[in-house]
Symmetry: C2
Subunit: 232 residues, 2 copies
């Protein structure tokens, strides 16, 4: 029998799947609100009003993503904040380990984070029931505010080549921290991992498929770094 | 002849009026983006995720107000950031003088500031050409996220009556600073004040009308303080 990365998704009638989806929505919702918060913080380092506004536009987009995820949790009869709260430590750790030390690091983080989140949303969408999938893909479609970052980073490297080396290391650290936090979240949460990995009655990715997903995420990250003019 | 507060508005063909409207839009746009920024800052003091999100929703609404004003400046053929920049010191001074020392002061500032801005938008709308008036009234209509503040402040006063006295003083200081900055802006900018006050060829408010406007703004502020359970 040929293996396929994508198998028929479960439904919300399945209690384990439902718990896993709630955890996923809580994770994504917390991720969006904490990205919004951190972008607002980084906006303060902007060299001028125009760049401050670009970052504020990204923060606003993240807030609207959060709203969609929160509204779905409410529709599902859940207290969104109760569902989100367990993921606070994950994002506190991530942001604590990746606080930008200047404006350029903030820009790279915004760009890399935005891209990685979009890729991850796209990857997991295939394993979700149709309603959740539509929500996840809709949420994703709102990003794309971060293209101005490419110009800003390339210009900064043109002006001082040492900047490129420092930001390349920074980009690698961001990706490393994101993967390490992702791994910890999945390891801690059985239902959530079941949504992705599958269980006895719940089809999902097999280990080879997970490996391929990580390869795709890493390759897409490398492509983004390249676009910024940074060694991946 | 009977005097009226509202006289026929000027048009953008009039260069002094045009300059005044550009200044007004720049002032409002800077006010919105700086409110957005300060709310994002205050959100960090939120006692829980739910309240953080309420404040972030207000910040997001201010950002969308900013976008409308910026887009109009672009439509008018202006660099919005160049038009806004001169008002940076006004808002730096205002926010510098009114940095909340805790979450409750942040809430009162958000509520009082949101209300005062809405009142001011409504007051000036009457003196503007129809296009600008529609924009200003549209921008205004997006507010109203701050009603949750009433519950939070009244509850805090119930728990500790001394809080009421402190926040009442704080509210008075906010209004005093807002009026003092408003007065400085108008005094520094002839074209802007001409839009409101009128000139030889530009009808506007007479001094009695300005007095009445300040009375209305002050009364509305007092009513808001009262709604919060604070002595005006």
């Amino acid at each position: 029998m040929a293996t396929s990365d994508v198998q028929p998704p479960s439904t919300m009638d399945d209690p384990v799947y439902r718990t896993g989806v709630l955890e996923l929505l809580g994770l994504l919702a917390y991720g969006e609100i904490s990205a919004c918060e951190r972008l607002a913080e980084d906006a303060k380092m902007a060299p001028d009003l125009k760049h401050k506004v670009e970052i504020a536009a990204m923060a606003t987009a993240e807030f609207h993503h959060f709203e969609k995820l929160r509204d779905r949790l409410v529709e599902l009869g859940e207290d969104p904040f109760a569902v989100m709260q367990p993921f606070a430590p994950t994002f506190e750790r991530f942001h604590g380990q990746t606080t930008p030390s200047d404006w350029l690091e903030g820009l790279v983080k915004a760009y890399v984070g935005d891209g990685l989140a979009a890729d991850f949303y796209r990857e997991i969408a295939a394993y979700l029931d149709p309603d959740t999938r539509t929500l996840v893909l809709d949420t994703l479609s709102g990003t794309g505010h971060s293209e101005f970052v490419v110009d800003a980073i390339r210009q900064a490297i043109d002006e001082d080549h040492r900047v490129g080396g420092r930001l390349a290391l920074w980009g690698r650290r961001l990706m490393g921290e994101a993967l390490s936090q992702a791994q910890m979240v999945v390891a801690e949460r059985d239902a959530l991992s079941t949504v992705l990995v599958g269980g006895v009655d719940h089809p999902g990715m097999d280990l080879a498929a997970i490996g391929r997903m990580f390869t795709r995420l890493t390759e897409a990250h490398a492509a983004r770094m390249d676009k910024l003019g940074l060694a991946p």
